[in-house]
Symmetry: C2
Subunit: 132 residues, 2 copies
């Protein structure tokens, strides 16, 4: 019997993957609950518009004009940053209400606040911008 | 005569935009010169493969199998991070040699080392992954 050990994923891959899974699951079921992931210094860039702070970010996210949304992740990458945060880049597809499926890309910086990870930076773009 | 003042761009937009312009111009003309932008703690995720340190990153970038490449930026976003770095997300298109034009997305974290900005984190994905 061969003693085979699976390589352990890096902690940043584990934490980043868990965050990303939690984020989109929450977004798709009850996005008002995302508030616990943002803090007052958090920044959101959404399709080029900038929002700062938990309150402004949540006003934007909860006022988006669809009632049903589903995200599917195509690829995700995670890295440690010099200040012990984690940067995550997600590529995926989403379907809002009865619209066509659209590609999107999103970046997060995740910071450890002691007993939880919060999102200090969030950048979102639809992939439709990528075709002239 | 109306006294109209243009709004001043944020410093992170100015620095991020300058970096992005310099990065792709250098990549497209002589990518060996990108070495000055990376340091020994820098991380690169390139199509899911991870490289750490200036040497490993430059070996990867300079061994990419094309002789001619052109990047066109479609959209870019920049934000300040809690540790006074800058996170930049770029969406664009590239053409390598005689291949078809492809979409790409890339994230950078830029850190001020005193007299210059270096890239501590770099994540790159072709957009072809985004279509099943």
């Amino acid at each position: 019997m061969v003693d085979q050990q699976q390589p352990q994923p890096n902690p940043w891959d584990q934490i980043g993957t868990s965050f990303v899974q939690h984020y989109y699951k929450t977004f798709d079921t009850d996005r008002g609950q995302l508030a616990s992931l943002y803090i007052d210094v958090s920044c959101l860039s959404f399709e080029g518009f900038q929002f700062q702070g938990k309150k402004a970010i949540m006003e934007k996210l909860t006022s988006l004009p669809f009632t049903k949304i589903e995200h599917i992740i195509t690829a995700q990458d995670h890295q440690p940053t010099p200040d012990c945060s984690i940067i995550s880049m997600v590529v995926g597809q989403l379907k809002a209400d009865n619209d066509h499926i659209m590609g999107f890309h999103q970046c997060f910086i995740l910071k450890n606040t002691g007993d939880s990870w919060v999102c200090t930076n969030d950048m979102f773009r639809l992939a439709i911008h990528n075709f002239g």
